[in-house]
Amino acid sequence: MPKRVAFKDKITVDATDLSNFARSVELSSEHERVDVSGFNPTGSNEYLAGTTEQSVTVEFYGAYGVAEVHAILYPLHKNRTTCSFKWLPDSTTAIGPTNPELRGNCQVLSYSPGSTRGEADTYEVQFTASDAAGLAFFTT
Protein backbone atom coordinates (compact mmCIF):
# COMPACT_ATOMS: atom_id res chain seq x y z
CA MET A 1 0.00 0.00 0.00
CA PRO A 2 1.50 3.38 -0.98
CA LYS A 3 1.15 6.58 1.03
CA ARG A 4 -2.48 7.19 1.81
CA VAL A 5 -4.96 9.71 3.02
CA ALA A 6 -7.03 8.09 5.73
CA PHE A 7 -10.72 8.08 4.97
CA LYS A 8 -11.69 4.46 4.31
CA ASP A 9 -10.70 3.07 7.70
CA LYS A 10 -13.04 0.59 9.33
CA ILE A 11 -13.41 0.48 13.10
CA THR A 12 -15.42 -2.28 14.70
CA VAL A 13 -16.22 -2.45 18.41
CA ASP A 14 -18.12 -5.38 19.92
CA ALA A 15 -18.99 -6.55 16.37
CA THR A 16 -20.57 -3.18 15.55
CA ASP A 17 -19.20 -0.98 12.76
CA LEU A 18 -18.49 2.45 14.26
CA SER A 19 -16.39 3.75 11.36
CA ASN A 20 -18.68 6.66 10.52
CA PHE A 21 -18.67 7.79 14.17
CA ALA A 22 -14.87 7.85 14.43
CA ARG A 23 -12.33 10.29 13.04
CA SER A 24 -8.99 9.09 14.37
CA VAL A 25 -7.39 5.92 15.65
CA GLU A 26 -3.98 5.38 17.21
CA LEU A 27 -2.34 2.20 18.46
CA SER A 28 0.08 2.28 21.37
CA SER A 29 2.21 -0.81 21.93
CA GLU A 30 5.08 -0.56 24.33
CA HIS A 31 7.41 -3.09 25.93
CA GLU A 32 8.70 -2.14 29.32
CA ARG A 33 12.41 -1.29 29.17
CA VAL A 34 14.16 -3.33 31.83
CA ASP A 35 17.63 -2.13 32.73
CA VAL A 36 20.04 -5.08 32.95
CA SER A 37 23.18 -3.00 32.73
CA GLY A 38 26.33 -4.28 34.35
CA PHE A 39 29.65 -2.67 34.96
CA ASN A 40 31.40 -2.10 31.63
CA PRO A 41 34.24 0.05 30.28
CA THR A 42 32.05 2.26 28.04
CA GLY A 43 29.35 3.01 30.58
CA SER A 44 26.66 1.97 28.11
CA ASN A 45 23.33 0.76 29.38
CA GLU A 46 21.89 -2.61 28.43
CA TYR A 47 18.17 -3.24 28.23
CA LEU A 48 15.81 -6.14 27.81
CA ALA A 49 12.18 -5.92 26.70
CA GLY A 50 9.85 -6.52 29.60
CA THR A 51 6.09 -6.66 29.90
CA THR A 52 3.93 -5.26 27.11
CA GLU A 53 1.29 -2.55 27.49
CA GLN A 54 -1.07 -2.09 24.54
CA SER A 55 -4.03 0.12 23.83
CA VAL A 56 -5.86 1.80 20.98
CA THR A 57 -7.25 5.31 21.27
CA VAL A 58 -10.17 6.27 19.05
CA GLU A 59 -11.70 9.71 18.76
CA PHE A 60 -15.45 9.31 18.38
CA TYR A 61 -18.21 11.75 17.60
CA GLY A 62 -20.65 11.87 20.47
CA ALA A 63 -23.81 10.06 19.34
CA TYR A 64 -26.49 9.04 21.78
CA GLY A 65 -29.00 7.25 19.56
CA VAL A 66 -30.03 3.60 19.65
CA ALA A 67 -27.04 1.33 18.97
CA GLU A 68 -24.78 4.33 18.46
CA VAL A 69 -21.54 5.29 20.18
CA HIS A 70 -22.70 5.89 23.74
CA ALA A 71 -25.15 2.97 23.71
CA ILE A 72 -22.30 0.66 22.78
CA LEU A 73 -19.38 2.04 24.77
CA TYR A 74 -20.92 3.04 28.08
CA PRO A 75 -22.24 -0.45 28.99
CA LEU A 76 -18.84 -1.90 28.09
CA HIS A 77 -17.18 0.52 30.51
CA LYS A 78 -19.83 0.31 33.24
CA ASN A 79 -19.89 -3.49 33.31
CA ARG A 80 -16.13 -3.96 32.86
CA THR A 81 -16.87 -6.00 29.75
CA THR A 82 -14.20 -7.41 27.49
CA CYS A 83 -15.11 -6.78 23.86
CA SER A 84 -13.59 -7.31 20.45
CA PHE A 85 -11.84 -4.43 18.70
CA LYS A 86 -10.83 -4.26 15.03
CA TRP A 87 -9.23 -1.61 12.86
CA LEU A 88 -8.80 -2.08 9.10
CA PRO A 89 -6.99 0.71 7.18
CA ASP A 90 -9.02 0.24 3.97
CA SER A 91 -12.58 -1.01 4.30
CA THR A 92 -12.92 -1.38 0.51
CA THR A 93 -10.08 -3.87 0.20
CA ALA A 94 -9.74 -7.37 1.58
CA ILE A 95 -7.52 -8.04 4.55
CA GLY A 96 -4.00 -8.90 3.38
CA PRO A 97 -0.33 -8.06 3.69
CA THR A 98 -0.96 -4.56 2.29
CA ASN A 99 -4.12 -4.06 4.33
CA PRO A 100 -3.50 -5.65 7.74
CA GLU A 101 -6.24 -5.70 10.35
CA LEU A 102 -5.54 -4.87 13.98
CA ARG A 103 -7.49 -7.18 16.29
CA GLY A 104 -7.71 -7.83 19.97
CA ASN A 105 -9.91 -8.16 23.01
CA CYS A 106 -10.10 -4.96 25.00
CA GLN A 107 -11.70 -3.21 27.93
CA VAL A 108 -12.87 0.39 28.16
CA LEU A 109 -11.21 1.27 31.46
CA SER A 110 -12.01 4.96 31.34
CA TYR A 111 -14.90 6.77 29.67
CA SER A 112 -15.11 10.52 29.48
CA PRO A 113 -17.64 12.04 27.08
CA GLY A 114 -18.18 15.79 27.15
CA SER A 115 -19.03 18.75 24.95
CA THR A 116 -17.95 22.28 24.09
CA ARG A 117 -20.37 24.97 22.99
CA GLY A 118 -20.38 25.45 19.23
CA GLU A 119 -18.02 22.59 18.50
CA ALA A 120 -18.49 19.08 17.23
CA ASP A 121 -19.10 16.72 20.13
CA THR A 122 -16.09 14.42 20.14
CA TYR A 123 -14.23 12.47 22.76
CA GLU A 124 -11.41 9.97 22.93
CA VAL A 125 -11.89 6.42 24.13
CA GLN A 126 -9.00 4.17 25.00
CA PHE A 127 -9.34 0.43 24.44
CA THR A 128 -6.86 -1.43 26.60
CA ALA A 129 -5.76 -4.92 25.59
CA SER A 130 -7.14 -7.31 28.16
CA ASP A 131 -5.82 -10.78 27.48
CA ALA A 132 -2.58 -12.58 26.70
CA ALA A 133 -3.12 -12.41 22.94
CA GLY A 134 -2.92 -8.63 23.07
CA LEU A 135 -3.49 -6.42 20.05
CA ALA A 136 -1.87 -7.68 16.87
CA PHE A 137 -2.01 -7.10 13.12
CA PHE A 138 -3.35 -9.96 11.01
CA THR A 139 -3.06 -10.38 7.25
CA THR A 140 -5.70 -13.09 6.85
Binding site: A15, T16, D17, L18, V66, A67, A71, I72, P75, T81
Partner: protein, 54 residues
Protein backbone atom coordinates in the same frame (compact mmCIF):
# COMPACT_ATOMS: atom_id res chain seq x y z
CA UNK B 1 -28.29 -23.93 17.62
CA UNK B 2 -28.14 -21.08 15.13
CA UNK B 3 -30.48 -18.13 15.30
CA UNK B 4 -31.60 -15.74 12.57
CA UNK B 5 -31.16 -12.06 13.37
CA UNK B 6 -31.96 -8.79 11.64
CA UNK B 7 -29.68 -5.76 11.91
CA UNK B 8 -31.96 -2.98 13.20
CA UNK B 9 -29.27 -0.52 14.35
CA UNK B 10 -27.93 2.30 12.19
CA UNK B 11 -24.62 0.60 11.44
CA UNK B 12 -23.41 -2.80 10.30
CA UNK B 13 -23.22 -5.61 12.82
CA UNK B 14 -20.86 -8.56 12.37
CA UNK B 15 -20.29 -7.40 8.75
CA UNK B 16 -24.03 -7.41 8.02
CA UNK B 17 -25.58 -4.16 6.84
CA UNK B 18 -28.60 -2.46 8.46
CA UNK B 19 -31.81 -4.22 7.45
CA UNK B 20 -30.00 -7.41 6.52
CA UNK B 21 -30.97 -10.77 8.03
CA UNK B 22 -28.28 -13.26 8.94
CA UNK B 23 -28.03 -16.61 10.64
CA UNK B 24 -25.31 -17.14 13.20
CA UNK B 25 -24.38 -18.69 16.49
CA UNK B 26 -23.34 -15.60 18.41
CA UNK B 27 -21.59 -15.66 21.73
CA UNK B 28 -24.38 -15.42 24.31
CA UNK B 29 -22.99 -12.32 26.03
CA UNK B 30 -22.43 -10.54 22.71
CA UNK B 31 -25.96 -11.46 21.67
CA UNK B 32 -27.41 -10.08 24.90
CA UNK B 33 -25.53 -6.78 24.59
CA UNK B 34 -26.45 -6.37 20.92
CA UNK B 35 -30.14 -7.07 21.60
CA UNK B 36 -30.28 -4.71 24.58
CA UNK B 37 -28.72 -1.77 22.77
CA UNK B 38 -30.84 -2.32 19.63
CA UNK B 39 -28.16 -3.40 17.18
CA UNK B 40 -30.06 -6.57 16.22
CA UNK B 41 -33.33 -8.40 16.81
CA UNK B 42 -34.17 -12.09 16.73
CA UNK B 43 -36.14 -13.09 13.63
CA UNK B 44 -36.15 -16.87 14.05
CA UNK B 45 -34.93 -18.88 16.99
CA UNK B 46 -34.58 -17.88 20.60
CA UNK B 47 -32.31 -15.79 22.82
CA UNK B 48 -29.52 -17.87 24.23
CA UNK B 49 -29.68 -16.38 27.73
CA UNK B 50 -33.41 -17.02 27.99
CA UNK B 51 -32.97 -20.60 26.81
CA UNK B 52 -30.56 -21.27 29.62
CA UNK B 53 -32.64 -19.53 32.29
CA UNK B 54 -35.80 -21.51 31.44
Amino acid sequence: MKTTYKVIGPTAFDDHEPGEEFTAELDEDLEERALERGSIEVVRGTRKKKEEEE
